[in-house]
Assembly symmetry: C2
Homo-oligomer: 212 residues x 2
Amino acid sequence: MITSADLQKMERVERLNLVNSLSGIKPAQLIGTRSASGSDNLAIFNSIVHIGSNPPLLGFILRPDAQYRRDTFRNIHETGYFTLNHIHRPFLEKAHYTSAKFREAESEFAACGLTPEWIQDFPAPFVQQSQVKLGMEYKQQIPIELNGTSLVIGEVAIIVLPDRIIEDQGHLNLALVDDLGISGLNTYYAIEKIARMPYARPHEIPPMEELQ
Amino acid sequence: MITSADLQKMERVERLNLVNSLSGIKPAQLIGTRSASGSDNLAIFNSIVHIGSNPPLLGFILRPDAQYRRDTFRNIHETGYFTLNHIHRPFLEKAHYTSAKFREAESEFAACGLTPEWIQDFPAPFVQQSQVKLGMEYKQQIPIELNGTSLVIGEVAIIVLPDRIIEDQGHLNLALVDDLGISGLNTYYAIEKIARMPYARPHEIPPMEELQ
């Protein structure tokens, strides 16, 4: 057992890695933005969270101390828009290296070999290599005073994805595009779809001895 | 391409499934609580998000309209504590059926064949079948006025997990305990660890032609 006192005594990097692993498997997405002066920015995030489906809202946790993420948020504030791009196995490394602290003038797209894609007149760049991409309209930043981070919320404006991953009734099979998961800060996982479970009603639950 | 206007016109369940799938692979965890009167509650959540590592904070999105989740939150308010228990492949079905709306007096532990476990004097029940479990102290509820949900934040008080999944420097290998991911509301994925990437520094990035 590890207690909060043990965590306090732990070396910083070890604590960082351990605590970042505790929430389980996390989504891996690239956030694309453009500054008011026309510089494109791309940053990997693993804290995307579903907020609600109607209106369609997604959020992410913004740290106050990460330079490249500050660029992301400054751009979102300047333009009001950003993109979310799922990361797939074939460009894992390129996506990961967007987390390096590049010089201000350098776009992570060019530095990491990823291609900006402009879809209709949407005012933020998508990642061409991504097969599941969302154009997002910024809605709100909610401060989290406990640690100086904030929850940034956007509303889904457009969705671009291949028809072949849409199953019945809107379900997506994310394994068909080799979506990645992350644990901690930099451990990557492939995913394999193993079950779709029915909506759970008490009187329809199988006998307990049949449950796995 | 699917626009926000298309989403508006979509049938409710289809929109629910689609939008819930957009955030990518999500963690699958069971939240365990006990009411002031001593009733135990267990509920599956897929919106756990890492907030920060020092102090060690995790949050989850609470919907206003889900009865079993209201029980969860009422208990957290009453006692100030809850547990987070990772879900592994061997008890996927049992964990999923905790989402059924059981009668008030019925514990999801008994109804779904899961075993409450009490660890030292921690005031909320853990799930014995889970190998990665966290005792959490409730810190704050932050309302999200855009849709009436809220972000509930807790601080990690104790961590129970097997030593064999701790790699160097605090990294956890979640595949070794068959942790599950979820997309949408009820599609489950197994995970396979494929890479641990180095901390990214601009001058250490491999030549672009070598990047995947």
